[in-house]
Amino acid sequence: MPPLLELDHLEMVFRGGGGLLRRGARRVGAVAGVSLQLEQGEILAVVGESGCGKTTVGKMITGLYKPTGGRILYKGADIHTLKGEAFATYRKGVQMVHQDSYAALNPARTIFQSLGDPILHYRLARNPGQARERLAELLTLVGLAPPQQFLDKYPHQLSGGQRQRLLLARALSLHPDLIVADEPVSMVDVSLRISLLDLMGEMNRRFNIAFIYITHDLATARYIASHGRIAVMYPGKVVETGNLSQVMATPRHPYLQALLAAVPIPDPRVARHMRELPLKSLEMPDPANPPPGCRFHPRCPFAETVCEHDEPPLRASDGHLVACHLAERIPRWEWAPQS
């Protein structure tokens, strides 16, 4: 059986900034050759900082952007060749949960109006009455009980955590096999984050729904994908990927090591002894004009001549894949230097 989803050398180049008076449009390669696979029921965390292309990847998977290169295979078929019934199956099968729950819901429509339409459109309910019943079940499922209290409300009458649960209910309403969740908890209060992540984990186990969890936050990625996989992106590329627990135990790419060193640790004794950031500069490269060779070399404390000229391929190291020429030679990662 083919994997649920396969990204095959995916590329996305945005053009812009040309205008009437300036010649030569700016080409921004947001995603430059990303290949990943996802099996049924798997959780994949895609981690990177703003500008790394993680959201663009999510939007291509959900069909919101058409890639300028490469293919996206859903159950073995290229999504941009799908027609009619097959396209509708893909559309239903791949759903998205957005970061900003307020922007993702129409403020002028009630919850029932917003969430009822998709299930009526796909004939998962024959009439509004049935749709109401179905939505009541879904709302209960995502912990919004009693559902009748929510169905006729407008988005502004709900809290951020509640709206985020609604987005999840909306995604679940079409029985998807894959939910792409783009920073679903970063705008939610800290005390409520874990419960949302737990809810996604529960949906994953109960209904075997695969999740792509897109985030800048390694700690929540580790929480939700502890039995899943991780892909770390650095402008336009995957630089390290594999089994999450394995990658976290032996992070090989200097960029991932820098990310790990930057994550705050809620333990004062450990936090005070964390190492300084192993980086030469703070600024990310300009995606319109990425550095030659390894894109990370201008910031990398270990970079050698080879890094300035040759782009490192993703290759096996320590049981997972790393795109670094020096992966085996740079010092092994330790949480805190011995004090």
Binding site: V190, I194, R222, V263, P264, P266
Partner: protein, 329 residues
């Protein structure tokens, strides 16, 4: 940490009310807090906890329809709330500077950074231009930016992290004694956040500035804070040293908050969400505001019928929970 604890700024029983069309919202309810000279104080709370409103009250900049309806704010013993406009102008930025939330957007988009440094200086007294600019260059270098490039830029030409560091340099321009930072790293990437926190720590150590961080994220305080104050639904519920708060919390909310924070080093199975959500400030529970979410209350270990007053239960460690002995680790 210094042992000669001397409060430089004090909030005394501060209450801030917002008059809404149909009801009254009490955003800060009878909060007292001493900021000690030379410390780094973290004020931690979720949205609606009142931390930003408290900070606005300390600078006497609460905006309509909000009103400081009770209490005093003392700076070196003088009540800021009775200052004249002129006194306030001298007090703000020179004595106490504040970096507001989403500060990257508080730069004027149509002025070059150079003009914004000069404007700030001239609004708070006249100083020679070249003196201001040389100070600006020194501060920009301090926050690890290229001074001439930044001074010549418009805000849109800088990245989010560069803007945030520019604001920090700007906030230090008039050598304030206290710097209040409201969610200074919230919109930043994790590497930029770590960088900014390191710079702040260094500024504190080098210049001896007293710093107050307001944040929803207790994790970022572990490395940098000397003391932490925890706010919930408009009240201060716990105050103590950073080690007290992380290792021996005396309020169930504090404990819940720390247990709910995913980390890279813990056992993920030990993380627990706090059930429920923060209360509606216009419809608060009569007794303890945390009771509906509290484990001790749920297990019958507390009647939950009292509002709770901050009390010092160990030296320097305050809690508003009467059942603090049951909180545990």
């Amino acid at each position: 940490m210094d042992n000669t604890k001397e409060p430089i700024m004090q909030a005394r029983n501060v209450t801030v009310d917002f008059r809404l069309p149909s009801r009254m919202l009490r955003a800060v309810d009878d909060v007292s807090l001493d900021v000690q000279r030379g410390e780094i104080l973290g004020v931690v709370g979720e949205s609606g906890s009142g931390k930003s409103t408290l900070a606005s009250a300390m600078l006497n900049v609460v905006s309509v329809p909000g009103r400081i309806s009770a209490g005093q704010v003392l700076f070196k013993g003088q009540n800021v709330l009775t200052f004249s406009e002129e006194d306030l102008r001298d007090f703000r930025w020179r004595e106490v500077a504040m970096v507001f939330q989403a500060a990257q957007n508080s730069l004027n988009p149509v002025l070059k950074i150079r003009e914004q440094f000069l404007d700030t200086a001239s609004a708070h007294g006249n100083r020679p231009k070249d003196q201001v600019l040389s100070k600006a260059r020194e501060l920009l270098r301090y926050v690890r930016l290229e001074p001439d490039q930044v001074l010549d830029s418009y805000p849109h030409q800088l990245s989010g992290g560069m803007k945030q560091r520019t604001i920090m340099a700007l906030s230090l321009l008039l050598d304030p004694e206290i710097l209040i930072l409201d969610e200074p790293t919230t919109a930043l990437d994790v590497i930029t956040q770590a960088y900014v926190m390191n710079i702040m720590r260094k500024a504190h150590d080098d210049l001896g500035i007293t710093m107050v961080f307001l944040t929803h994220d207790v994790c970022i305080m572990a490395k940098i804070a000397d003391r932490i104050a925890v706010m919930y639904a408009g009240q201060m519920v716990e105050l103590g040293s950073v080690d007290d708060i992380f290792y021996r919390p005396f309020h169930a909310y504090t404990r819940g908050l720390i247990n709910a924070a995913p980390s890279l080093t813990d056992d993920v199975r030990l993380r627990r969400a706090i059930p429920g959500s923060p209360p509606d400030l216009t419809d608060l529970p009569a007794g303890c505001r945390f009771a509906p979410r509290c484990r001790i209350y749920a297990e019958g270990g507390c009647p939950g019928d009292e509002k709770g007053e901050l009390m010092e239960v160990e030296r320097g460690h305050y809690t508003a929970c009467y059942q603090w002995k049951k909180v545990g680790r």
